[in-house]
Subunit: 156 residues, 2 copies
DNA sequence: CTGCCTGCAAACTCTTTGCACGAAT
DNA sequence: ATTCGTGCAAAGAGTTTGCAGGCAG
C-alpha cells in the first residue's frame, strides 16, 4: 500500500469517527507510514518534524495520534516488554497473526507469520471459559553468527 | 516447594553468586514466595513489610532484589504489557512453557501450560539463524460467563 | 576491617493531562 | 460560530541511581 493510498484510508477513518482531519495528524500519519521498520513514539516525533518542517508537531499530539492510528489498523502496536512501545505500519492490511522474534544481540525485532497462533489462543482460553480477543507470541533469541564471530550480520 | 526449602535454595544461590545473605533479601524473598498469585513490586514491598515488621525494607531494595530472585528461577517475571511488571513464585521449579491468559473482564492473569510453544519458538527462530532463549504467549480474553451474567465467577 | 548492601530521596523514562489558544467544520 | 485539536509544560506512574552510613563475611 502506497503512502497516498494509506493516507486516504486514514482520512476516511477520521471522518467516520467524527474526528477532524488536521495537518499535524496527517503529518504524523505520513511519517509513521513511511517508516521501514519498527519505531518508537520519540522516533516518530523526530521523523515527522524532519519530514514536515512546516507543520508544528508536539510530542503530545504524537502520543494522542498513535492510538487513533492503531485503531485504524493502518498501524500496529508491538509491545516487547521493554517499557517503551514500538509501532510499525501495516501495509498489507487486515488482522494478521504475527509473532515477534527479538534478537537479544542485535536488539532487532523480526516479525514472522504465525498462522497457528489463533488456534493456540483458542486452545488455551477455552480451558478457562474465556474467548480470546487478541494474542501475541514473542520469542527472545540469540544470534548464532553473533556468538561465533562477535558481530551481527544484520547490523553490519 | 515449601517456603523454608525455597529459602534455602535462594541462600545457596546468593552464596554461589558471591552475594551476601542479608535480612532484607531474605525477608523480601519469603514474602515473594509466600504470595499465592501474581504481584507487583509495590505489593511485594507492602507484604514484606507487613510480614516482617522487624526488618526495615525499602522500595529500592525490593527493586534491586527482584532481578536477583528472577535470575535464581525461584521467581518468574510476567510482563503483560501494562507498564508494570508482575511476578509470581515458581514453586514447581524448572523452565516451564507457560502461556498467560489475561481476562479483560476480571483483570486477572491465568497461566496454563503450553508445551507446543517450545516447538514453535524453535521453528520460527531457526529460519532467522537465531536460537530461542525464552518465549511467551499472551492472550487477552473476555469471560464468557461475565458477558452473560454481568459477574465474574472467579471474583465472586 | 573491608567492601558490599541498604535506605533515602532525587533523578529518570515514558506517557498522560490541564489549560488557554488556534484551527477545522 | 462552535467545538475539537493543539502546544506547552507540568504531572504521573514505575523504576533506577548517587550517596553516606551499616552490616555481612
Amino acid at each position: 500500500m502506497t503512502i497516498p493510498a494509506a493516507r486516504e484510508k486514514f482520512e476516511t477513518f477520521l471522518a467516520r469517527k467524527g474526528l477532524r482531519v488536521t495537518k499535524p495528524r496527517l503529518a504524523i500519519f505520513d511519517a509513521a507510514f513511511a517508516q521501514a521498520d519498527h519505531f518508537t513514539a520519540e522516533q516518530l516525533l523526530d521523523y515527522a518534524r524532519a519530514r514536515t518542517p512546516k507543520v508544528k508537531i508536539s510530542r503530545a499530539t504524537v502520543y494522542r495520534t498513535l492510538p487513533v492510528m492503531t485503531e485504524s489498523a493502518l498501524l500496529r502496536e508491538v509491545d516487547i516488554g521493554t517499557g517503551e512501545k514500538f509501532y510499525r505500519p501495516n501495509r498489507e492490511g487486515g488482522d494478521q497473526q504475527v509473532a515477534q522474534v527479538v534478537c537479544v544481540d542485535c536488539n532487532r525485532i523480526f516479525e514472522i507469520s504465525a498462522p497457528f497462533m489463533g488456534w493456540y489462543g483458542n486452545t488455551v482460553s477455552s480451558k478457562l471459559g474465556l474467548t480470546p480477543v487478541s494474542q501475541r507470541l514473542q520469542v527472545s533469541a540469540t544470534c548464532d553468527i553473533f556468538r561465533r564471530t562477535g558481530g551481527c550480520p544484520r547490523r553490519g
